[in-house]
Symmetry: C2
Subunit: 127 residues, 2 copies
DNA sequence: CTACCTGCAAAAGGTTTGCATAGCC
DNA sequence: GGCTATGCAAACCTTTTGCAGGTAG
């Protein structure tokens, strides 16, 4: 793959941002440093970077997909109140992949855990 | 909520089909028994039934969302080769929700686990 | 009878793609 | 110089919505 200012910028944007941005958010942020980058370029690079394993893709099912610069084993907790996405470390003893492989004879490559709930702030405000 | 032939049909379609159909698939199958049901109705009812907790909504992130008639605790294993979605029972000792609540002080309502890998058949064929 | 639900079609996102041009190597 | 990546805009797909007419209670 050839180098490009845009791809570097997109990768940096995601790596430096723990907010799990959507493509649109990456686009907006990238535009601050490269005003005429296009949404198409952002999508093409997000897809390329995921395929290379340099970023991760999160399916959240409400609206649009999100991207994550963290590659270590963890899961996501989404607040149903404010939409914030929190990272949670996953302890080793949750050997879910191995468990699934034993149960099914599949070979598991990837695991995606998304929980939904309410953060402490929203619990105070909403209830 | 008022009763309707269409809603009953949609619910049945999902309950009787372990394939975790997409909205389009539910629509096609429902049309066999009710030829002029509309896609809009399917979407409206899928959404209503999810909200009532009568079916579950799965975020799979490739293309379109899927629906599941099983309500017990389990997770999904998607074959990257053929796209098949397999159910896997989740043992009680994986107390993931409780773990997340302890770690974060969130109140967790819902957990969604999706794994991706290759099924035995595809492993034979593809590799 | 009234309120909710449907079918239809248009609109609304989000994401992908074709094409001509620009930029890396 | 050749080949890849970009910008732009149009195309695509899934999902949502507005409206007029139908149906359950």
């Amino acid at each position: 793959m050839k180098n490009s200012r845009q791809r570097t910028l997109i990768l940096e944007t995601i790596k430096n941002n723990p907010i799990h941005p959507t493509a649109k958010e990456v686009y907006n942020q990238a535009r601050e440093k490269c005003p005429n980058i296009s949404l198409g370029t952002v999508y093409r690079n997000l897809s390329a970077l995921s395929e290379l394993g340099l970023i991760k893709h999160i399916a959240v099912s409400d609206g649009c997909d999100r991207y994550d610069g963290r590659l270590d084993r963890h899961f996501h907790l989404i607040c149903s109140g404010c939409g914030k996405v929190k990272d949670v470390e996953l302890e080793k003893y949750f050997a879910l992949e191995r468990y699934a492989e034993e149960q099914t004879d599949y070979k598991v490559d990837e695991i995606d855990i998304v929980m939904r709930g309410y953060c402490p702030e929203c619990r105070k405000t909403l209830f």
